[in-house]
Assembly symmetry: C2
Homo-oligomer: 644 residues x 2
Amino acid sequence: MYKVTFKFEDGSQVENYATEGETLLELAQKSNVVIDAPCSGNASCGKCKIKLLEGQMESKKTRHITDDEFDQGWRLACISELTNDVEVLVPDIASAFKSRMKVADLSSKDEIQIFQQTKESIEFAGIDLHNSLDVVEVMMDPPSLDDTMPDNERLARALRKYMNLKTVRFPYSVLLKMPDVLRESDFTVKCVIRTTPDDMFVYDIFPKDYDVVIGGLAIDIGTTTVSALIINMETGEILAKASSGNGQIRYGADVINRIIESQKPGGQLRLQKAVIEETINPMVEQMCSSIGFSKKQIYRMCIASNTTMNHLFAGINADPLRMEPYIPAFFKTNSLFASDLGIDVNPDAHIIVAPNIGSYVGGDITAGTFVSMIWNKPEFSLFIDLGTNGELVFGNSDFLMSCACSAGPAFEGGDISCGMRATDGAIEACTIDKETMEPTCIIVGGEGEKPIGLCGSGIIDVISELYLAGIIDPKGKFIREGKRIKRDEYGTGSYVLAFEEEAGSVKDVEITEVDIDNFIRAKGAIFSAIQTMLVSLDFDVSMIDNVYVAGGIGSGINMQNAVNIGMFPDIPQEKFHYVGNSSLSGSYAMLLSTESERKVYEIAQNMTYMELSTVPSYMDEFIGACFLPHTDINLFPSVKARME
Amino acid sequence: MYKVTFKFEDGSQVENYATEGETLLELAQKSNVVIDAPCSGNASCGKCKIKLLEGQMESKKTRHITDDEFDQGWRLACISELTNDVEVLVPDIASAFKSRMKVADLSSKDEIQIFQQTKESIEFAGIDLHNSLDVVEVMMDPPSLDDTMPDNERLARALRKYMNLKTVRFPYSVLLKMPDVLRESDFTVKCVIRTTPDDMFVYDIFPKDYDVVIGGLAIDIGTTTVSALIINMETGEILAKASSGNGQIRYGADVINRIIESQKPGGQLRLQKAVIEETINPMVEQMCSSIGFSKKQIYRMCIASNTTMNHLFAGINADPLRMEPYIPAFFKTNSLFASDLGIDVNPDAHIIVAPNIGSYVGGDITAGTFVSMIWNKPEFSLFIDLGTNGELVFGNSDFLMSCACSAGPAFEGGDISCGMRATDGAIEACTIDKETMEPTCIIVGGEGEKPIGLCGSGIIDVISELYLAGIIDPKGKFIREGKRIKRDEYGTGSYVLAFEEEAGSVKDVEITEVDIDNFIRAKGAIFSAIQTMLVSLDFDVSMIDNVYVAGGIGSGINMQNAVNIGMFPDIPQEKFHYVGNSSLSGSYAMLLSTESERKVYEIAQNMTYMELSTVPSYMDEFIGACFLPHTDINLFPSVKARME
């Protein structure tokens, strides 16, 4: 056994023991040390770099490690076998993916504005905002020697009479509290109930003086990030909001790698635990304690996520999702309750799952489409969700068509050497001086925050600026030299946004030709998907009335720059709208309003899916889109004009 | 900390550490060492005797310990404070109550005959023997790229079409298995289902070739003993049978002491765990492994028990049961599922609870009354359940009246110095030679088994024989002397059934005047309850057509001897029927047959309850009955004749 010490930049450390031949990445995963490993440890992505401080490991040199870096001790964790005691430094650029949880400050209007807007637009569409949960107060005659009706019948009788119902059902949790609460409160109590026309389910029982708030939990389970709200189910008020990295990240950055990991022995349970016990439960805990709310008073929850995420969340075999004929276990399901999955809220809380429409278009898209309201307008709209993958929906009140494209995780910083998601330290916007080539960056976290990487919107800006400044050519190759341009031994260029000494990280924050190439392929996938879908419908970009952009790419996304690099079609700026995390606001809508929930099922039912890989022209479209902005510059007249 | 070593007669031992002043009984309870403590440790019953082998304890002498015994090291565990390291012997007479589990040998016809009879009598009464569980085989079209319906909808569609239903519901456990089973079995599967006219609940799913048996679990939770059956829900066949001591026994022998214990911090959970985790789950485990059956294939269960036992089983506050106005949390409940209580069968198994009619007449009586069939006959019948308490039901197809009497645990061997339940080593029958006063005993366990105590039927025989032989007078005082008659320092007599050297225990097996006095009060309670109930209805004993005696007193009960001591009314022997554990056979009936279940609810609904303590004449009746056979010998003409 070898002793391995993982050191972090904040000075903390974790120790564990490895067996002969175990890789550092494997040991890190066992030790709950999060090292980013988007390619699941097959040495292809180069993201799992760590720095050897003490001792020796069996480790190969790869194209991801320069000679200099190797001499300094940099290694890929996934191909470093442990054969001695070692001490390693886990750099922040990797641990930025660590499940850092953040409970939002709701005094900031920005955090809740979007949900207010969601509520208003639902109401505007004539959809009822209510759900089936309610609080009622009931008064009973106390028992006596002449009236010995047992507690449950006494309460059921009172509720039946009050509500004119046939049956009243109590779950075990309520039966358990009943004798004490009835007596403590002199047989006048408040009940949290769900009613249908002829029956009632009683979720909870409280003494009459208790101020009962019915809590609900809305969650967006992204492949990379999980976001959640606790709401007041009667008013729709946001009581708490939090976000966290998805604890599954250490088992692979994308859905395919997660599914592969889930097929290993114990994998399904491991991935389920990562998202529930290590991500959702701690978020609920923190949100509740921040507002002094009882977890057991969350009586309903809704999750919106892609199909793989909702299968892994439920612990259900997701392997069929990636194998022909790509069949999910469910599109929608009524089978899930909090107690089934070990979610630490009221055990009887029903889990609403935003419906999938297939393996590659899931509940995040159906819920997001609902809140985009494109289904409620005669004009043609395009809804684009830039998550760890890219999904598109196009249509109007008459039809909706969707497709998914393998854009990869670049928009959230994946597959990019200094990429990260839009958390503290991420460069989220950038301009580059055409003459001096000096950058001016905006960093998430604000003043004083040092840059440690680039998030999606930052990458778009940097590539657009590098291109417009003539620093890179349409293929993304560096064609100018200067202080900020580095070349490796093969002449491959990179642009340094922050030198090591200015950066919050242990190395330069830079963007390389490899990164740019990856990003061009990602944006090419999006643009070619838009083109292919429009062509198949005999549409062209001029007929698009609105583009709604959703996802974790960040509210700072500069639409003009996204057009400049050929990611979005060249249409007027005012047609673009950033709608933030529409999966979360969709989840909020479904949770709060039963009619919205029904509407999402209806949208899912009617949405058609286009499998791009079966469209012959898609590959040509894609290859054409893998340039800045496009091989056919006439598709981007405004960019053409600007370049001239 | 003092080291305490508990030694057992089988040579095994348990060690634990005590803090200063802790009593030996408290430490034993913590250490899972079962020392019988019917009085819950207040030095009143004298049952917790242990023998000090090594070291010293602070222990008072009480009336339960003679000088000789004290010198030999005998102490009451409940008043022995630990102040040194000690070694103690825990005698078998106490550990006979230990939760020894016994899986029945079903090749013996006796074990299952009663259930066969139960089935036959239900059928004879025209009641349907079916329940709502079924196995169906369904064939689906496998999915393809042109038919991408998800698994749950595909299966639901097939089941709906097949059964002509509106809705099909899958619990989480089924959704979890679904993708694998469907593919393993080429989309032809067997489902365990419950159907109502328009909906279906799917409990389980299996590959088509699997031989599916629908299992059910019937349980009788007695205060002292728990009995259980695993049955085939389609045929009613008994697949396994087991019994065990109720793990709660170490928290008190009767319901009142258990309720008191449950009110201590953590008490409710402790008592619930004692009966579920330490008693029922191990029984299920053993039964299943003895027949190679999967626990998860038990899809429904039924428990019959007294009101306190079903409240403690459910972990629900039972305190209101013992305090005016004596209100249970439930008479009947639909709220309990296996997963709620942590019972290790299918998590969705519904728990049927035989209905209570009040605090002192519970589901054991309503279920037992059902299988006695007294509700289905025009003749008047008396149903007597001799459990840890005594309950009576009198009536016919027109009316049913019940009452409970505080007979105490004497019929199961409680409150009797050498009392025990009818397990191996118990004297279950006895005759005593009028001249020599020598006993001839029948021991449970058969040939070679040495006597260690007396069970209920044995006590009845011994007292009847002692009385008829003129060894004791009508007050139960010893009036003859001899080798087998011992006298203590105060002249109090006892009769030795087996001297230490013949016994399987470490001391003489005897019956004392105190024991006889306790038993006379117990039988007096039964007889006076019968009398009081009959008188209140203007009946007399001659109008009783049948007496059904149920309970753990043992099939060996000699009805004539029970009449001789004035426990049962003096009517012809052929009117008496021993019906065994009617609570278990009632539970079996409710589990197997939905119509029987409904019938039991109906019986409970219509049964009236007579509170004896509010009947002025009851105390007089009781005092009159506290003689052998009665102060009014004319009530027992056949005994009078025999004595003359």
